[in-house]
């Protein structure tokens, strides 16, 4: 693994492999335990394929009781556990460890209940994101967060990563659409958070769990909101000579009180790659292209489309096309949705980055990227969730050229540093995983990180769940628990009191 240091494998665990496999087989009989190397290959990486590692053993439980017994066994025997849903993580969140059980939730694939009057669905974590929408769309409903991997990614994984999608600004992230969870702690205890009611009680453990990347607990049931599908949707394709003008157009749309269902931006390299690939009809003489989608009642969409059109022209748009049919709307999106494979056609390999910036900083960040591109001698194409500032630079490289992956990774790290520098963050929706783990100190100081690890200590005091992910270094809980209290020595005797 290129430059990636994972926690040292524990020899004691490795030497007890046969015993661990037997114990797991006793808990999950039949084909629920995979311990043959060839069969384990299917699980050796997630969608961050640059990193691969065979797990100690794979277990695929089918019931909550089995998950609970597996975790309890691992806790009592100090065996590490890596949870995995569909394995679509782009940050290596489900990367196995040599000395850890890989706990795969794919057999939890049932929709347990659909409750239309209360507009919620109760599902098992292995159900795919799109599977929820498929189950309710005949009644005109859908599940709002739509990460691009929605056909494959599981709702359990969505909870672990707090997945987004192109409709976040209007409809929220996973955290805003999950009402309840059942989860199993590393001790085997089963805990329920929230439910079908709309706000959960006590500390917001639901909020802490969402986006915790499998480090706090294993989700075994999810209650999500379902929404009525908007009656209509239309899109505009607006091209600009500069990214500054496109950025101003986005700001003006929002200043007009409009929150579009989706608002995407592509830069020149991304536009060209996409147009060459799918012939969506994108203008090739622009520096930035916006795709703005309005959804809702027909009357509203018509009203807003004309407002946005005016804003676009006022900001110097050289192309401004409004979709006149569903086919045309889909064509506008086709290029954007195919941006990643399109870039895959013009380069043997690419790295997909995921930072978020305050929108107004876009021109500065794009300029910075052009400089870095020259410095590293690698091309970069950009797609950007313009509404919420989430940037996906695609760094083009060739893995067959020695050191080029390494160079691309360094380029990516520099881009993320730039995002943090302008007030943004390291990851908008892909998660920290192993990919951005060592960049965490760019955004957080030691005190910040220690407090996050203390949260982990409350859930997983032995650090057995998904170690080596998210945090560059896991301090032992006992060490973190110490308080430096000196009785009788008031540290600030002179502070004013009233």
């Amino acid at each position: 693994m290129a430059g990636l240091l994972m926690p040292k494998a524990d020899n004691a665990t490795m030497s007890r492999r046969a015993e661990i496999v037997a114990a797991l087989q006793a808990i999950v009989p039949g084909e629920g335990v995979v311990d043959v190397t060839n069969e384990m290959r299917a699980f050796e990486s997630d969608a961050l394929t640059a990193y691969r590692q065979l797990p100690l053993v794979v277990v695929l439980p089918q019931t909550v009781a089995q998950v609970s017994r597996v975790l309890k066994y691992c806790y009592e025997n100090n065996v590490k556990v890596v949870p995995r849903g569909s394995g679509t993580s782009l940050s290596g969140g489900a990367l196995p460890l040599e000395d850890a059980v890989l706990l795969v939730l794919s057999r939890f694939n049932r929709i347990l209940e659909i409750d239309y009057p209360n507009r919620v669905a109760v599902v098992q974590p292995g159900v795919t994101n799109l599977g929820i929408t498929k189950a309710v769309e005949h009644e005109g409903f859908y599940y709002a967060p739509d990460p691009s991997s929605q056909i494959a990614c599981s709702i359990g994984g969505n909870v672990a990563e707090n997945s987004g999608g192109v409709h976040c600004l209007k409809y929220g992230l996973t955290a805003n659409n999950v009402l309840g969870l059942e989860m199993v702690l590393i001790t085997g205890e089963v805990v329920r958070l929230g439910g079908k009611h709309l706000d959960s009680e006590g500390y917001d453990l639901l909020g802490l769990m969402t986006g915790s990347e499998g480090l706090l607990g294993v989700v075994t049931e999810v209650t999500v909101r379902i929404l009525k599908k908007p009656t209509s949707a239309r899109a505009l394709m607006v091209g600009f000579p500069t990214s500054e003008e496109a950025g101003q157009c986005v700001a003006d749309v929002i200043a007009a009180g409009i929150i579009p269902g989706g608002m995407e931006m592509m830069d020149r390299p991304a536009i060209h790659a996409a147009e060459d690939f799918v012939h969506a009809g994108y203008p090739l003489d622009v520096e930035a292209l916006l795709i703005i989608e309005l959804d809702g009642p027909v009357v509203e969409v018509d009203h807003l489309i004309s407002m946005v059109e005016t804003i676009g022209r006022k900001n110097g748009a050289t192309t401004c096309v409004v979709s006149q049919s569903e086919e045309e709307r889909m064509a506008f999106w086709a290029g954007r949705k195919a941006a990643f494979p399109a870039v895959g056609r013009i380069s043997p390999d690419y790295l997909c980055m995921d930072g978020t910036i305050p929108r107004k900083e876009l021109p500065k960040v794009l300029a910075g990227m052009r400089e870095l591109s020259e410095k590293y001698g690698l091309r970069v194409a950009n797609v950007f969730h313009a509404g919420d500032g989430n940037l996906h630079p695609l760094i083009l490289y060739d893995a067959n050229i020695p050191e080029e992956l390494h160079k691309a990774e360094d380029f990516g790290a520099d881009i993320l540093r730039l995002c943090v520098k302008v007030g943004g963050v390291l990851t908008g929706e892909h998660g920290v995983g192993v990919e951005k783990r060592d960049l965490m100190p760019e955004m957080f100081n030691e005190t910040d990180l220690k407090q996050q690890i203390r949260v982990k200590c409350a859930f997983d005091d032995k650090h057995l769940l998904n170690p080596g992910k998210v945090f560059p270094q896991l301090h032992r809980c006992a060490e973190l628990g110490r308080m430096h209290v000196h009785h009788g020595q008031v540290p600030f005797p002179d502070i004013p009191r009233f």
């Binding site: 709309l198 009525k228 009642p297 107004k360 955004m443 502070i495």
Partner: protein, 403 residues
């Protein structure tokens, strides 16, 4: 007895470090507007945050607002309104219900109690809109989490972790929120004379339609007269709020009137009157009677709510009304709080939680104000508290006795 009145973040850190060193529990207070909510505290010392006030970041185009903990909510709402924006979660004002002035309360308290309002059916609560925090933990350490952007999954979301923690985990010194455009206009549909169960069904039909209903409430006959200066007196009123751009609202009003035609005649209330109605529903004005009669806030499965109320009425004198399609029930008891009966019924009808938001101090000290948690969940919450505040100096016992 020591009262700290910090005017700088460093002074908040110092005050907490003093409390840690002295092992002296402190009460964390913003403007004190919600001091009579939750379990009463018996701390000798206080950290008052009202002096640590002011907007630190407001960029309307970026939909982001940040301010110090002691900043009055009213000041922030006025600033947002001047720019055509709002907190979409409509933070409620407990003042009227608790016999205090309206319009008090600070940003820190808003997050610590996870405030929300009638629009929460669609838009969630404070926790759904918080983007970043700076916090002084019970260890006297300053940490940050989150940031100023909407899309962020970098590390655990400790900003949400601070929501609804009632000052027991840390003192959020500075908080950043996502803000959104305020709706251009709003209209409320009023259906008169429905029984509670019929109202539940009508609200479910409306909420499940493409009418994009922002809020749905039902005021039974003896509550309906206590809003809008008695304008709805005489009959139960089921109210549905539609918001947005004028042409869209008009279109949806027409659509819903057709859809709900069989429910009875439907009146409309628009503009300022509509806003006043929803503010009164939000702030529990129907039960703001100047008394200390027990009031419950019950969060439950929306379609089960009327069953809970009907069952409760068989054994106790109770006034009730429903927000969030029934997902939020406000109950005013004529006599005792009947905590066990209320909570048993919440469990029976699909689960949720009941909070005793108003009652004399002695009762709030003796009864669990917040819904008691199952043992494993309570233990997890306690471990979290210990990780943030190992000495137990921040608002001890505010949520749960002994924690």
């Amino acid at each position: 007895m020591t009262t700290f009145n910090p005017h700088a973040e460093g002074e908040i850190v110092e005050a907490v470090q003093w409390a840690v060193a002295e092992q002296a529990p402190v009460e964390i207070v913003g403007q004190g507007s919600k001091r009579d909510l939750g379990r009463p505290l018996q701390t000798e010392h206080t950290i008052m945050l009202s002096g640590y006030s002011g907007v630190t970041l407001y960029e309307p185009d970026e939909l982001v607002l940040g301010a110090r903990a002691g900043t009055p909510i009213a000041e922030l709402e006025a600033l947002l309104a001047a720019n055509g924006q709002a907190f979409q979660f409509e933070p409620m004002d407990y003042g009227p219900l608790l016999g205090k002035l309206a319009g008090q309360g600070s940003l820190g308290g808003l997050l610590a109690t996870n405030l929300c309002g009638p629009r929460s059916l669609k838009s969630g609560s404070a926790r759904d809109h918080v983007l970043g925090v700076r916090v002084v933990s019970g260890r006297g350490e300053l940490f940050k989490s989150g940031g100023r952007v909407v899309k962020n999954v970098t590390g655990y979301d400790l900003s949400k972790g601070m929501a609804n923690s009632w000052g027991t985990l840390g003192i959020a010194t500075e908080i950043t929120f996502k803000v959104l455009p305020a709706p251009e206009t709003e209209t409320t549909l009023v259906i008169r004379g429905l029984a509670d169960d019929e109202a539940g069904r009508a609200m479910a039909i409306a909420m499940g339609s493409s009418g994009e209903v922002a809020s749905a409430a039902h005021l039974p006959i003896n509550v309906a007269g206590r809003v809008l200066d008695g304008a709805l007196n005489g009959e139960a009123s089921t109210v549905l709020r539609l918001e947005g751009f004028a042409p869209s609202v008009a279109d949806r009003v027409a659509m819903l009137k057709g859809l709900l035609a069989s429910a009875g005649t439907i009146d409309t209330i628009s503009g300022e009157r509509s806003r006043k109605l929803w503010q009164e529903i939000r702030d529990v004005v129907p039960f703001a009677d100047g008394t200390e009669r027990p009031v419950w806030r019950v969060s439950m499965v929306p379609m089960e709510a009327y069953k809970l109320v009907a069952s409760l009425r068989m054994g106790a004198a109770v006034d009730a009304y429903y927000d969030w399609q029934g997902g939020l029930v406000w109950l005013r008891m004529e006599g005792e709080p009947e905590a066990e009966a209320v909570r048993a019924l919440v469990r029976k009808y699909g689960g949720g939680h009941a909070t005793l938001v108003r009652a004399p101090t002695s009762i709030r000290a003796a009864l669990p104000v917040f819904e008691p948690q199952p043992a494993s969940l309570a233990a997890l919450s306690k471990r979290l508290k210990q990780q943030f505040d190992p000495s137990g100096i921040l608002n001890p016992g505010r949520m749960v006795a002994g924690v």
